[in-house]
């Protein structure tokens, strides 16, 4: 399994280079990887029927006890077949969607990386590995949405998706850590077998759910999904309908058998799921852009999946698995259809598309089948899933079962209405709208003259349409897969089978009600639209997001304005005062004054006197140049002291540093006035003098106390002993610098390099761009 995940990364790495030679052919090359994954998945599926889940483990960070565990079971197979199966189709589809755009290599590589991350996500058993893959899908999603990076809408949509899912991901990581610490293991299998309990777990579960809700675009975190529709359609049909957005559902499905009976779990998941289902479907009825219509529909369907897994009874888990698969198939197909329409007619506005069905009868029929599956109309796979859901919710036995069931039936009728609206809007005549300001949009109709899409373009859609029909007519084809997915979640064999006809049941009646109500909503769509327009405006999630981001930017602006006001004396004053006050307090309270002696040699006295005179002169010098030279003289005096004490290495370095330092100072002074500018305000000048004096006294005292603060024997003796035997050098200073304390030196040269780059950047920033260019 590790090899499989790595293969995605390795192939992705060569795709951009390959794209330069074979153009969009790279997409077909890329398709081979998910195809191989499919084959591996089918082989592995055969394995697990005999011997239970496949498990692979590798040491990740052994020092921290981290193990990277992968686990392949029935539910992983269900997800893997969605990720890899639809992946193959999307790559083939993208081969017709794109022409020879220059972004093609980047696109293929990023999409393949996403695919690999998603495979990793559904196979990961370690919670931290799961988080890693989870974030990788967020990042690749960001890159894919903004792949056409010259579009502002694409960039801001990508940013919104990244911010919201990234925020959720962080919350989820917090939840994972709390759970892992409470359970003593980060292995999902072990965690779910022996779920921990306590108030920490409650907090952890809420955090994990925030992650799941943001990823699966649940209300009120859903605003990123419609904005993500700025991505090219292959991305939307892969990431934002069938795979990435189901990651949150996947996580809830994994956790629900262990935590469904936890006090907060059901209320949270069910209420958020139901709200998303209803709000998504309701807003979908208002959309004119076919892609946005589907995006809101996806929010709604994801809400239903969340709800089913959140209820956590055996029947509802079974229904959830069925819906997950059914939704992946029909939603990916519908997005691909929108992409085809958009690609051929250059619009996806259903107010412009006019009688496309007459031009493309076969495409229209296919779309009808797939949309009917979404609406839950027999005998399609979507109907089976909807039946299972209604049946499962009808027999929960909980007090809130009935209102939730009513909510789901209402949501389903919305679903029927927007499915009909989708097919009619795309392939039927243009709608007669009563809203006057839309006349400008309606002036141009697109229909008769649209060129037919190629067979290769349509093939992936046909495959998915055939699947949704086959699985509906012959449920026994797919039943074992769902039963095994169910068994690996619930821990027991499924005693229940998918069937097209269960007899005259409550679920069938509710299905009929939903379909009837849905068509009624569609029939009176103009009245519904008017009613929706007359509803009071509720604050939208998009506005909430915009306000939050704006507030954050303003707050950081204010903070920066306060902290970074640009006055150098104040910066320096703050730094020096901090230096004086923080170590100064313990120094005065606990410092030990060492035994003092006058001097070791008369030379020291002479050099010391020279240094004192130079230092005082530097402090009162009027010209900058003189001050720098005097400070340099103090440094040379220091070097002389080193020589007297028998430290030639330090002396050499000190002399060189002073020389170079003076030279650089002089260079910098060419940009400054020759004289120091005297402050006009006496008070601020007084403060400056006071701070300077304090800093001087502090450094003096600090050095004195530092000498007296030694409590342990000096390590210099040890260094002297080991310098030759272990470091292989006679020069102890050098051996210390490059060997004993080599890591410190490494850090120091990094600081040097970064500081040099910083100076270069600052100097360049002052020049005009033209000068920098030259």
């Amino acid at each position: 399994m590790f090899v499989l995940i790595l293969a995605f990364g390795c192939v992705a790495a060569v795709l951009p280079a390959l794209a330069a030679h074979i153009g969009r052919g790279v997409l077909y090359v890329a398709a081979a990887v998910p195809a191989a994954t499919c084959i591996w998945g089918i082989w592995a599926y055969g394995q697990i029927s005999d011997s239970g889940p496949l498990i692979e483990q590798a040491a990740w960070v052994p020092q921290l006890g981290l193990t990277l565990g992968l686990r392949f079971d029935g539910f992983a197979f269900l997800m893997l077949s969605l990720v890899a199966g639809i992946g193959v189709l999307v790559f083939i589809y993208a081969g017709s969607y794109f022409h020879a755009e220059p972004i093609i290599g980047r696109f293929a590589a990023t999409l393949l990386l996403f695919s690999g991350s998603m495979v990793g996500l559904v196979l990961a058993d370690n919670l931290l590995a799961l988080f890693l893959f989870w974030e990788l899908t967020s990042i690749t999603s960001y890159l894919l949405i903004s792949i056409e990076d010259e579009k502002t809408a694409a960039r801001s949509g990508a940013m919104q998706a990244l911010l919201i899912t990234g925020m959720g991901g962080l919350a989820m990581l917090g939840g994972f850590v709390l759970l892992g610490e409470a359970a003593g293991t980060y292995s999902m299998t072990e965690l779910l077998e022996r779920p921990p309990s306590g108030s920490v777990v409650t907090v952890a579960l809420v955090l994990v759910l925030i992650g799941a809700f943001t990823k699966s675009a649940q209300v009120p975190f859903h605003s990123w999904l419609p904005r993500a529709m700025n991505a090219p359609t292959p991305v939307s049909s892969y990431l934002h309908s069938a795979t990435m957005v189901t990651a949150g559902v996947y996580l809830v499905a994994r956790f629900t058998p262990a935590f469904a009976d936890y006090s907060l779990w059901r209320p949270l998941v069910i209420s958020f799921g139901l709200a998303s289902m209803l709000i998504g479907a309701y807003r979908s009825l208002r959309q004119h852009d076919l892609k946005l219509l589907l995006a809101y529909g996806t929010i709604s369907q994801l809400g239903l999946m969340m709800l089913l897994f959140g209820v956590g009874t055996r029947e509802s888990i079974f229904a959830g698995c069925t819906l997950l698969l059914a939704h992946g198939i029909f939603k990916a197909a519908l997005f691909m259809l929108v992409g085809i329409i958009d690609h051929q007619s250059k619009t996806r506005d259903l107010r412009k598309l006019d009688r496309l069905g007459a031009t493309w009868p076969v495409v229209a029929a296919t779309a009808g089948v797939v949309a009917a599956s979404m609406a839950g109309i027999p005998p399609l796979f979507g109907f089976l899933a909807k039946e299972e859901a209604l049946a499962a919710l009808g027999e929960t036995g909980f007090a809130w079962g009935v209102p939730v069931l009513i909510g789901v039936v209402l949501g389903s009728s919305f679903t029927v209405a927007y499915s009909a609206r989708f097919v009619w809007g795309a392939f039927g005549p243009r709608p007669v709208s009563t809203i006057p300001h839309q006349d400008s949009v309606r002036s141009e109709a697109v229909g008769q003259q649209v060129p037919k899409p190629s067979k290769m373009f349509l093939a992936p859609v046909f495959v998915l349409a055939v699947l949704t029909l086959l699985f509906g007519l012959f449920p026994s084809l797919i039943d074992p897969v769902i039963a095994r997915a169910y068994a690996s979640l619930a821990g027991v064999r499924a005693e229940h089978h998918l069937a097209l006809w269960h007899g005259f049941t409550q679920a069938l009646a509710l299905s009929a009600v939903a379909i009837g109500a849905g068509f009624a909503l569609f029939w009176w769509r103009l009245r519904v639209e008017k009613l929706q327009d007359s509803m009071p405006k509720v604050p939208s999630a998009q506005r909430g997001y915009d306000r939050t981001v704006k507030g954050l930017l303003e707050a950081s602006d204010a903070v920066t304005g306060f902290v970074q006001h640009g006055s150098l004396p104040i910066y320096l004053g703050v730094i020096l005062l901090t230096m004086i006050v923080l170590p100064g307090i313990p120094l005065l309270s606990d410092g030990v004054m060492p035994d003092l002696w006058f001097a070791d040699s008369p030379m020291q006295v002479v050099v010391g006197l020279i240094m004192i005179v130079c230092a005082c002169a530097a402090a009162v010098a009027r010209r900058r140049f003189a001050a720098v030279l005097l400070v340099g003289a103090v440094g040379y005096g220091m070097a002389a002291l080193f020589v007297i004490q028998g430290a030639p290495d330090l002396a050499i370095t000190q002399v060189l540093i002073e020389t170079l330092g003076v030279a650089v100072f002089v260079l910098a002074f060419r940009h400054l006035p020759a004289d120091f500018v005297r402050s006009k305000f006496r008070r601020s000048q007084g403060a400056q003098i006071a701070i300077a004096l304090l800093a001087g006294v502090f450094v003096f005292l600090f050095t004195l106390f530092a000498i007296g603060a030694r409590t342990e024997p000096s390590i210099s003796g040890e260094y002297l002993d080991k310098a030759y035997s272990e470091g292989g050098g006679n020069n102890v200073v050098n051996v210390i610098v490059v060997d004993f304390r080599g890591f410190d030196t490494m850090g120091e040269i990094v600081v040097l390099a970064v500081a040099a780059l910083g100076v270069a950047a600052l100097v360049r920033a002052k020049r005009s761009p033209a000068e920098v260019e030259s």
């Binding site: 060419r670 470091g727 006679n730 610098v737 080599g742 490494m746 040269i749 270069a760 360049r764």
Partner: protein, 150 residues
């Protein structure tokens, strides 16, 4: 204040430039056993280039060295990090040193430590930093001494 180019300084610098560079290399290689080392060596080399700059301005500097300063920084960092990684790859701790000695017959026995490569990295980073500062701070305004004829 019009900067003027001094012929005496110019000639002196030309005379001692290469000697200084040689000294810096000596300090670099001798550093493990005698006073010196990568840091001091790098500083001497920086001073050599600094003199070049003082005598001839930034154009003299760019004439005497064709590699951009930033390359020195990068290559130096690379040297230092790779030295550390090599000892990691051979199963030791990061930056753990190894000592080689070779008998070169006439020249006597030469002993070298793997930290020499690390020291070369330090040397290059220090030199790169100074060159970058000279380039950036020196060429910033129009008072390039080279533009004024002697």
């Amino acid at each position: 204040m019009t900067p003027r180019r001094s012929v005496i300084l110019d000639l002196c610098v030309q005379a001692e430039f290469h000697t200084l560079l040689l000294l810096s290399l000596y300090l670099l290689f001798a550093g493990h056993n005698q006073p010196g080392g990568g840091f001091a060596g790098g500083l001497v080399a920086s001073c050599a280039f600094g003199l070049r700059f003082v005598a001839g301005g930034s154009s003299a500097l760019s004439r005497s060295i064709s590699v951009p300063a930033i390359t020195f920084l990068g290559v130096g960092m690379l040297f230092a990090i790779l030295t550390g990684c090599v000892s990691l790859l051979t199963g030791h701790e990061f930056l753990e040193s190894a000592i080689f000695s070779a008998d070169l017959m006439v020249l006597g026995t030469v002993k070298a430590s793997s930290v020499l490569f690390f020291d070369i990295g330090v040397y290059l980073v220090v030199l790169g930093m100074s060159l970058l500062l000279l380039e950036q701070l020196g060429g910033a305004d129009g008072t390039d001494p080279d533009e004024v004829q002697p």
